[in-house]
């Protein structure tokens, strides 16, 4: 009987010791688990804040593609020569420079500068009296005009040569210096342009330069018709 009681007590002691150990191990496991959860949560949070890792690091620098500029060819520069009929002062040679800018395929702007020298009037010829000095006979003008390509087309020479062309209308404002005075001038006319090559143009132009003047004693509108041929180069 005593032996049984001793065995029972020893068993209880042994159980108690092992039970504390189990409980302690369970508590340790629980605390480790909570720590792991916290660290996992922390790592998840840190993962959401960090940038995703790049799979491939590019080792080649991006090439900058150099695009060559397109050469514009809208400016026309050239000269012309012809005859101008200065009202009351006869027809005389005229020469000038012209600068055109092609705005669209329809419109172009033009600046011209021309010079001529007036001849004698019929009164001067008959009476042998000089109305104007040599310096006053200089007829210089400039015009700023707007042109419209009314009839663009092509001209053909033989079977194998086709050249682009255009019949255009033109009008503008300017100034004529004549007989020692500046005169506000309106110019209008028409012309024909033909391009043997893409960079060369040949012109035939007829224009009227109109201004009001009293050089012959009575103030009236003076019509000065000029017909010219010219050549220009496209830039």
């Amino acid at each position: 009987m005593e032996t049984r009681i001793c065995v029972l007590l020893l068993s209880l002691v042994a159980l108690g010791c092992s039970g504390c150990a189990v409980f302690h191990r369970h508590a340790k496991q629980e605390s480790e688990g909570q720590a792991a959860d916290r660290s996992a949560q922390a790592s998840q949070e840190s993962d959401t804040n960090a940038q995703p890792p790049s799979v491939v690091e590019p080792q080649v620098e991006r090439r900058t593609v150099k695009v060559p500029a397109i050469r514009p060819s809208n400016v026309e520069l050239g000269a012309y020569y012809g005859e101008i009929s200065i009202q009351d002062f006869g027809a005389q040679p005229v020469a000038g420079l012209r600068l055109d800018y092609h705005i669209t395929e329809d419109f172009f702007a033009e600046a011209t500068y021309g010079r001529a020298k007036a001849g004698p009037t019929s009164f001067e010829t008959l009476s042998n009296i000089q109305l104007l000095s040599d310096a006053e006979r200089r007829f210089t003008y400039y015009n700023l005009s707007l042109g419209y390509n009314l009839l663009p087309g092509e001209v053909f020479i033989g079977r194998n040569l086709a050249m682009t062309s255009s019949f255009y209308l033109i009008g503008g404002l300017g100034s004529v210096k004549f007989a020692g005075d500046q005169n506000f001038t309106v110019n209008f006319g028409a012309g024909f342009r033909v391009l043997p090559t893409n960079w060369l143009a040949l012109h035939i132009d007829v224009q009227d330069l109109v201004f009001r003047s009293d050089v012959t004693g009575v103030e009236e509108l003076k019509n000065n018709l000029q017909a010219t041929i010219g050549a220009t180069v496209f830039f």
Binding site: V67, A69, E105, D106, F107, G180, F184, N198
Partner: protein, 259 residues
């Protein structure tokens, strides 16, 4: 077709003209080295039409198929002279060429000169007729856009009156309030010089060179591609050597184009 990396194709052009003036001009027009790189564009639409001349009425004699490339030789107004891989040359319209791509596949952008370009462009040139204190005025100007709203302008004018003639040379700023509007008002502010030459018929001709300042108000109206109307009124303050300054009024109306 397999695309090359480069956007250009190098070709060699030799002057063929013999007249000295023409050779000189061609040298000015093209680099003296003779070799020139051209922009290479790829057709992504079913085809690209090539005309015989730089205009909408010229007939289409060639087409370039999708995937093929063209070299852009030059530009004239709205048209581009191009050369195909087979060596055929023709004129392509800008709206058609705007649907092509560069060699790296990016779209090719062109300034079409439309309303968007009217609102945002770099250069302007124009000329006017008008009146300057009773004298007839002829004027021209050149403007550079600093922003879409703000431009710096240089203008030169000649006035022709009954009593005197003269010239004006100005530089100033203009501010366009709403550049996107078809009819858009603007204000100007600047200064310059006035040269007055009294007519010889006057008893006491007095030539005068005076500094001047001006303020102005005007409007611009988009007409068609690259072309617009511009009207303007300016009040000039002429800083004379006399006891008081002179005030002169100027108005002018004319055409201008942008690019």
């Amino acid at each position: 077709m397999e695309r090359s990396i480069t956007t250009t194709r190098s070709t060699r052009r030799w002057p063929t003209r013999v007249a000295p003036l023409l050779v000189l001009v061609s040298l000015l027009a093209a680099p003296a080295a003779g070799a020139r790189e051209y922009l290479q564009l790829f057709v992504v639409e079913p085809y690209l039409e090539l005309h015989t001349g730089p205009g909408r009425g010229y007939p289409v004699t060639q087409v370039v198929g999708r995937g093929e490339a063209v070299d852009v030789l030059m530009r004239r107004t709205d048209w581009f002279r191009v050369r195909t891989e087979r060596g055929v040359e023709g004129w392509a319209f800008e709206r058609d060429l705007a649907r092509t791509t560069l060699a790296d596949g990016t779209p090719f952008h062109i300034n079409l000169g439309d309303r968007a370009a009217f609102a945002s462009h770099r250069w302007e040139t124009g000329f006017f007729g008008g009146a300057y204190e009773g004298a007839t005025l002829i004027s021209a100007y050149q403007a550079l856009s600093l922003t879409d709203n703000l431009k710096i302008e240089v203008s030169g004018s000649q006035f022709i009156g009954n009593l005197s003639n003269g010239y004006l040379l100005d530089i100033g700023f203009s501010h366009v309030f709403v550049p996107t509007w078809r009819l858009s008002p603007f204000v100007t502010l600047g200064g310059g010089y006035e040269w007055v030459e009294p007519k010889a018929t006057l008893a006491q001709p007095l030539s005068a060179n005076n500094q001047a300042g001006y303020v102005g108000l005007g409007a611009r109206f988009y007409l068609t591609r690259r072309l617009f109307l511009r009207g303007e009124f300016r009040g000039y303050e002429i800083f004379t050597n006399q006891n008081s300054n002179e005030v002169k009024n100027e108005w002018k109306l004319g055409f201008a184009f942008f690019y």
